[in-house]
């Protein structure tokens, strides 16, 4: 049982932190964080009507992603403004409609109750996510360095950004079981933020981000079992600890 949790957490965290390296480059930390909040009303509805919370989350996320994508290209409002307002509202809505006894789990996650079937689906989707990111990593990196340059060599930036947001949504849906809607953004961002402190090139950045994510996942589950704590918050605390160490190391590496 414990082994199954650890394996699932490793894959989900690896996918999320690999994605995170691009979220950091694109300075999309806030969007990612807010996006995870959108999942909450979806989870709530799933709990009320007894269907799989993962499906509820992914449905709400898909709508939100298309929303962001359209807003980015259609309106002149800053995306951060829209995201800030709309997504905080959906967190509030989610908090109200989620049944009380389920609220904590939806907010903070709980991987200890994960079924074998859920584990397998999570692992397969994580592998799919990693494969997609590795496949489009050069295009993504170029898009993030300069949209003009990427457009000038024929990359369709709009499509690329939609793909990016969709895989982001998938990562959020996957991670929610582990760390919950409230902390999901951190699952994506913190390992990459730590890696950025010491990495000098893209390859080491992506690898370190994944290593930190996986390390925090293993330690997170391990300590949560020993001290009988909720694994999500423990994971985030360990991640933050790694971040602090990386900040200190930055002085010596850079």
């Amino acid at each position: 049982m414990e082994f199954q949790q650890i394996i699932t957490a490793i894959f989900v965290s690896a996918a999320a932190s690999l994605l995170g390296s691009f979220a950091i480059l694109k300075r999309m930390a806030l969007v990612g964080d807010a996006l995870s909040h959108v999942a909450l009303p979806g989870i709530a509805l799933a709990l009320i009507f007894h269907f799989n919370p993962f499906l509820g989350a992914i449905a709400f996320l898909a709508v939100a992603v298309f929303g962001i994508w359209l807003v980015e290209y259609q309106s002149k409002l800053s995306i951060e403004t829209i995201v800030g307002v709309f997504f905080a509202a959906s967190l509030a809505l989610g908090a109200i409609i989620t049944p009380d006894h389920e609220l904590l789990e939806a907010m903070l996650g709980n991987i200890t109750t994960i079924s074998r079937q859920e584990s397998i689906v999570s692992i397969i989707l994580s592998i799919f996510l990693i494969a997609v990111i590795l496949k489009i990593r050069k295009k993504l990196a170029l898009n993030m360095v300069s949209q003009e340059l990427s457009q000038s060599i024929g990359i369709e930036n709009k499509q690329l950004e939609l793909v990016y947001l969709l895989i982001f949504a998938l990562a959020v849906a996957l991670g929610i079981r582990f760390v919950g809607a409230l902390l999901m953004g951190s699952l994506v961002i913190i390992p990459a933020a730590s890696a950025k402190n010491i990495a000098k090139n893209l390859n080491s950045f992506m690898s370190l981000s994944v290593i930190f994510g996986v390390l925090a996942a293993i330690l997170g589950i391990y300590f949560s079992q020993i001290y009988n704590l909720s694994p999500g918050p423990v994971f985030i605390l360990i991640s933050a600890g790694i971040f602090i160490v990386s900040m200190i190391m930055r002085k010596f590496v850079k």
Binding site: L25, K138, A141, L142, V145, S146, E148, L149, Q151, S152, I153, A195, K196, A199, K200, N201, L202, N203, S204, F205, K254
Partner: protein, 233 residues
């Protein structure tokens, strides 16, 4: 042989006419300079040539020996963080799969040392970055290079050497070059043809013919100042 024909080009952004009825042509191997004051639409012109923005009118890139023309683009500046985890070598590899050998050749062509490949793309100087962007552009084997004020943020000595390098690339690779420049000295020395632009085309011709006081006054708003002076006298 003409490689580019622009006819009645109009660009409107948010209801403002940025470019009005622009017409010009570029010959193979020609260096064309676009000059004009800030806000004249120079960058917008380059972007429409690249197909990066919507326009009305015709922009026709002709084929060379039956093959579609390849364009290299060097943007004016890039806002990137100094600690971006991306090495110069990785950046040069983002456009496709360039062999190590090709990347080294490109670095040599822009007169940099191979050692720079291991440096961070955000930590090199602006002049070096400009050269790396040129290297990036020539890795795609272009027949035309588009430069948006390649030396905007570089000191005078650095500017001089960038233009020398461009001139050499032009000779060695038989490139056509379309460049935006503020520096009339450079235009005089290197360009075969110049276009004065301020929302519309004000003059066109060889730099020696057209860069006279009268045209420059009109281009940079001198005449407008005189007009106001007369009006209020």
């Amino acid at each position: 042989m003409k490689i580019l024909e622009v006819k009645n080009l109009n660009v409107e952004i948010n209801g403002i006419h940025i470019l009005n009825d622009i017409n010009f042509e570029v010959e193979r191997g020609e260096i064309l300079a676009i000059i004009g004051p800030n806000g004249a639409g120079k960058t917008i012109l380059l972007k429409s040539l690249l197909g990066l923005i919507d326009y009305q009118g015709e922009i026709k890139w002709n084929k060379i020996y039956g093959e579609k023309i390849k364009i290299g683009y060097v943007p004016q500046r890039m806002d990137i963080e100094t600690d971006i985890p991306l090495s110069v070598e990785e950046f040069l590899n983002l456009s496709g799969d360039s062999s190590k050998q090709k990347i080294k050749e490109a670095i040599k062509a822009v007169q940099l040392d191979e050692k720079i490949l291991k440096s961070g793309f955000g930590e090199i100087s602006i002049g070096q970055r400009q050269r790396i962007l040129v290297a990036w552009a020539i890795l795609g084997n272009p027949q035309v290079l588009l430069f948006d004020e390649p030396t905007a943020d570089i000191d005078i000595a650095g500017q001089e050497s960038i233009y020398k390098m461009l001139h050499k690339l032009h000779r060695d690779l038989n490139l056509s070059i379309i460049l935006i420049s503020h520096d009339l000295n450079v235009v005089f020395r290197y360009a075969h043809k110049a276009i004065c632009l301020n929302r519309k085309k004000i003059c066109e011709g060889s730099p020696k013919e057209i860069l006279n006081t009268e045209n420059l006054l009109e281009l940079y708003g001198g005449e407008k100042a005189f007009y106001h002076h007369d009006h209020h006298h």
